[in-house]
């Protein structure tokens, strides 16, 4: 570690590679999912890198590393437990895709969807393209800009205006049935 602090990259690589299996053992004790354990290992490696100047070569390396590893693993575990208490993991049946075939609809939502599609059809062409790419096909701004050949800010403006006029139109249609 002392050599790594002086900028010796080969020593640093050897050190990181040597400590990884050990960290994996430590993390595996706390996390059931191997991917969570691997995330914890990476977190420890990043922390070791960020605080490598705090190591004092006059003191043993082991306790320094174990203290950092324990701290990070406990922090992650705490966050993990907190997240699990308020989040539900999505299973594959919750996944959805934008093509029509993947989205079967019940009668209530079908009527709403038809009204929405009708309202979208009345929009100005540039606004219709923006809504269709960004909202219906769920593309990112960058992807939509690439697909439509328009700038990101133009798309943002078009979407904003489109949503405003859609809101107006849908409100009008709900008021006059």
């Amino acid at each position: 570690m002392a050599r790594a602090q002086d900028g010796d990259r080969r020593a640093y690589r050897a050190l990181l590679e040597d400590m990884t299996p050990y960290l994996r053992t430590l993390a595996a004790r706390c996390f059931r999912e191997p991917s969570d354990a691997e995330d914890a290992v990476q977190d420890v490696l990043l922390t070791v890198h960020a605080v490598r100047h705090t190591y004092d070569p006059g003191r043993p390396f082991g306790p320094w590393l174990v203290a950092i590893a324990n701290r990070r693993i406990v922090d992650r575990l705490r966050r993990h437990i907190r997240a699990r208490s308020r989040e539900i993991e999505l299973s594959s049946e919750h996944e959805t895709f934008s093509p029509d075939a993947a989205n079967f609809q019940c009668e209530d939502t079908a009527a709403d969807a038809a009204a929405l599609h009708a309202a979208i059809a009345t929009l100005a062409p540039d606004q219709r393209v923006a809504i269709s790419l960004l909202k219906l096909k769920e593309m990112s701004l960058k992807e939509a800009a690439l697909a439509s050949g328009r700038s990101v800010s133009a798309l943002k403006v078009a979407t904003h205006r489109a949503i405003k006029s859609l809101r107006k139109r849908l409100r009008q249609s709900s008021e006059t049935p």
Partner: protein, 225 residues
């Protein structure tokens, strides 16, 4: 998600030489020297209270100020020591005796001078000036401490923020009587404990958040090539 092997490659690539930290005692002394400088500057600006020499001969005043100062020094040392990952948590107890003496002398002063805690015991005449000294002392000290201990963000953020806050609070509380005349016991209690609770509270609540931001920045800057 990057694989661990790729992560190691990236880390090795940005492994520039780093300057090792000085021993925690030396760094605590540097921060205390900075605190001394800040207080000296405020003394130059505001001037000392006229009856300071006289008051220092009074045991309660002298003990309270000395205990506050000792709490400040010891908690600064404790904060710098426990900010290092491999040091024992027992260092947290270092400022406790001085803290106990400080709080008990304030309490004792209140008990013996109980009579003076009347309606005239609470005065808000010069308090604004006192508040300005409090802010002028504690803000630079907190910023300096947060900058010096930023690496602790990923390690013991809560403990370091609270101990550091106590250090700033105690140093500020020990500096206040140099300028301000608090003969009313209730005001001594409010200012001493109020300052301590306020600064320690703010730093321990916001210190965690500040350290959270610092941790994210440290991680980001650590892996920039």
């Amino acid at each position: 998600m990057t694989s661990t092997r790729e992560l190691i490659d990236t880390l090795v690539e940005c492994a520039t030489p780093v300057r090792r930290l000085r021993p925690p005692f030396v760094r605590a002394m540097l921060w205390l020297a900075f605190a001394g400088l800040v207080i000296a500057l405020i003394v130059m600006g505001h001037g000392l209270r006229p009856d300071l020499a006289l008051r220092l001969h009074q045991p309660t005043f002298a003990v309270t100020t000395a205990a506050a100062l000792a709490t400040g020094i010891l908690s600064a040392i404790a904060a710098f020591v426990i900010s290092l990952p491999d040091r024992s948590r027992w260092w947290l107890l270092l400022p406790m005796p001085a803290l106990a003496v400080w709080i008990s002398t304030i309490g004792y002063g209140c008990l013996t001078d109980w009579v003076s805690v009347g309606p005239e015991g609470v005065r808000f005449v010069d308090e604004l000036r006192c508040l300005s000294i409090l802010v002028l002392t504690s803000v630079p000290l907190t910023i300096a401490l947060a900058a010096m201990l930023r690496y602790a963000a990923m390690l013991r953020a809560g403990a370091v923020a609270t101990t550091g806050g106590l250090a700033t609070a105690a140093i500020t509380a020990s500096a206040l009587p140099l300028f301000h005349n608090h003969d009313a016991t209730a005001m001594i209690l409010i200012w001493n404990l109020g300052t301590a609770l306020l600064i320690t509270g703010i730093t321990s609540v916001f210190g965690r958040r500040l350290f959270g931001l610092l941790a994210a920045r440290l991680l980001a800057s650590g892996t920039q090539i």
